[in-house]
């Protein structure tokens, strides 16, 4: 388990009992809170709403910051430590800001056999960012190296935000996808 990326905090680590500065706190919108309440009602235990609520937090706030985790804990009424533990376990919760268009490039074996390593290098070259190194200066792009996206047959496979592009074999297709991103044709990362 070599991905314990700690969530972005205020400049100083928080001491026990210390609260986040007011400027950094996050509040769910009324609709999001209602959505979380609705999810909690569907399960026999409210704890089960942790994962869905973190997905909502990521959608609302763009990424799952420490403040977002605290907001989730408050919304469900569970310990903050539990939410922190869950959010840092799962790789799909981004603990640091990502670009408007987040590229997840699969480099696992099936994709690697068909040129995923070279594709990842191409994506990095075209977007000007390194995998996992945060968004580009203009906030447009970020890149992540991920494991199998279940598009093995038409590898290499790339996910842009929430949509899988699994016919991305060459540079030409990559340019097309990036152009379409610039025109705003793809579903944005956060709503």
């Amino acid at each position: 388990m070599n991905h314990p990326q700690s969530p972005e905090t205020s400049k100083e680590p928080l001491a026990p009992g210390q609260r986040l500065p007011e400027s950094e706190r996050k509040e769910f919108s009324a609709e999001a809170l209602a959505e979380i309440q609705g999810i909690m009602a569907k399960y026999p235990e409210k704890l089960a709403a942790t994962l869905p609520a973190l997905h909502i937090a990521q959608r609302e706030f763009g990424f799952v910051s420490l403040a977002a985790m605290k907001a989730v804990a408050k919304a469900i009424g569970i310990p903050e430590g539990h939410v922190f533990g869950v959010a840092t376990f799962y790789t799909m919760y981004q603990k640091a800001p990502v670009g408007k268009y987040h590229f997840s490039v699969c480099t696992n074996i099936s994709c690697a056999l068909r040129g995923a390593a070279q594709l990842l290098e191409k994506v990095c070259e075209k977007t000007g960012v390194k995998p996992g190194a945060g968004p580009s200066p203009d906030g447009m792009w970020s890149v992540e190296e991920v494991e199998c996206l279940a598009g093995c047959g038409v590898a290499p496979c790339v996910q842009v935000n929430h949509d899988v592009y699994d016919e991305l074999v060459d540079e030409q297709k990559l340019i097309e996808v990036m152009e379409a991103c610039k025109r705003g044709e793809y579903r944005p990362w956060a709503q």
Partner: protein, 456 residues
Amino acid sequence: MVAIRTKPDHHTYTFPGFGSEKFPNLLLRGAGDLNNWHLNVYEQQHEGYVAMKAALKMEPVAVTDEVKASGLRGRGGAGFPAGLKWSFMPKDSADRKFTRYLVCNADEGEPGTFKDRVILEYNPHQLIEGMIIGGWAMQCVTGYVYIRGEFLWLIEKLEAAIQEARDAGYLGKNILGTGWDYDILVHRGAGAYICGEETALLNSLEGRRGEPRVKPPFPAAKGAFGQPTTINNVETLAAVPPIMRMGGAEYAKIGSPKNSGTRIFGVSGHVKRPGIYELPMGTPMNFLVEELCGGSSTGKKIKAIIPGGASCPMLDEKDFDVPMDFDNLRARGSMGGSGGLIVMDESVCIVQATLRLIKFYAHESCGQCTPCREGCNWMEMILHRIEHGEGRPGDLELLSSLTPRIAGRTLCPLGDAACGPMDSALQKFRHEFEHHITHKTCYVQGSRLLSTVGAH
């Protein structure tokens, strides 16, 4: 209501002769047609919900017996008989009533596997029908579908399909006048391969970290939310409606002995026509790779095939004729796994391929058991130095001494899964590793499976 994605994909789903008596089409009806997911198409063209209506008129025990008679074995990887698993669920008695759950494992993350996605994309109602029949057989109150988080568009589609089934009266209160209440909920994962393990999946469903639990208690005794639970793979549940339609005994005639039915094989890597092929169990591997997939796409000879997803030990040339079912693959030292074939030609450096696979397991280990957490990381580090020309004499002995210390010593099979490719690569392609250590370079020139930018 969200718009359902209509982007076509480029997988191959069929081949000449598919759908005939020799190659029955039980799971891929209408695959490739993006309109196929609707309830009316399923009911009008693919005998949809016929099996469910018949099953709801039967005694629940009789339904389980039918699935038992079919000999259906779990398609998630372990190949455990599905009917037997269903029969483990405790039954209500006069003094004790149970709340039972059925969970569908759609956390498809095994590298090289892309079969469940096809069912969710084109035939979600077949899965829903299978879950209703399973729910009835075990008298469950709720069915949960745990889908990996990356499949957002499939989650939207499945939820729309479930709503269609609710509107038709197949889900909800008092289904078709039986007095039985049942609903299906979709739970979205968040990118952890380990959640494909059944008890880790249950933890994740309950809103915890996806760490496998100690067994026993097995899920049939204490599963989701502490209640009796059965977990089945998407393909297993989708195979239930055809079984109920044709009868268990008839289904058992398809495939090879003790490995009945058809199975979806996903072929990826160096073949001309990679894609999804539904074949009877026991079909020889070289028939699939050479005849249906057109053989090597690069013109080079095929060197190794991983027969059932990344966790299965790889096979070399002498075993390419293996009939693909659980027992035959086991006899050849591999596994049936999840049915994802990864084909590698002669241009592939096995050291690089193994390193990439082990890197995956090191990354996905949940960190709970020391042998897996530390062992996978050490295997990665040793392979990394061999690959980068810093291998030391004795490294291969070190690697082979590590695997028996991981396999069988962990709570879940992830540790064992990492040892499968490692051991088989060392055993079958040892000369490539030795070449790497002595010559500081690949045995095959020009293989580039690893990226040079950053690492995760």
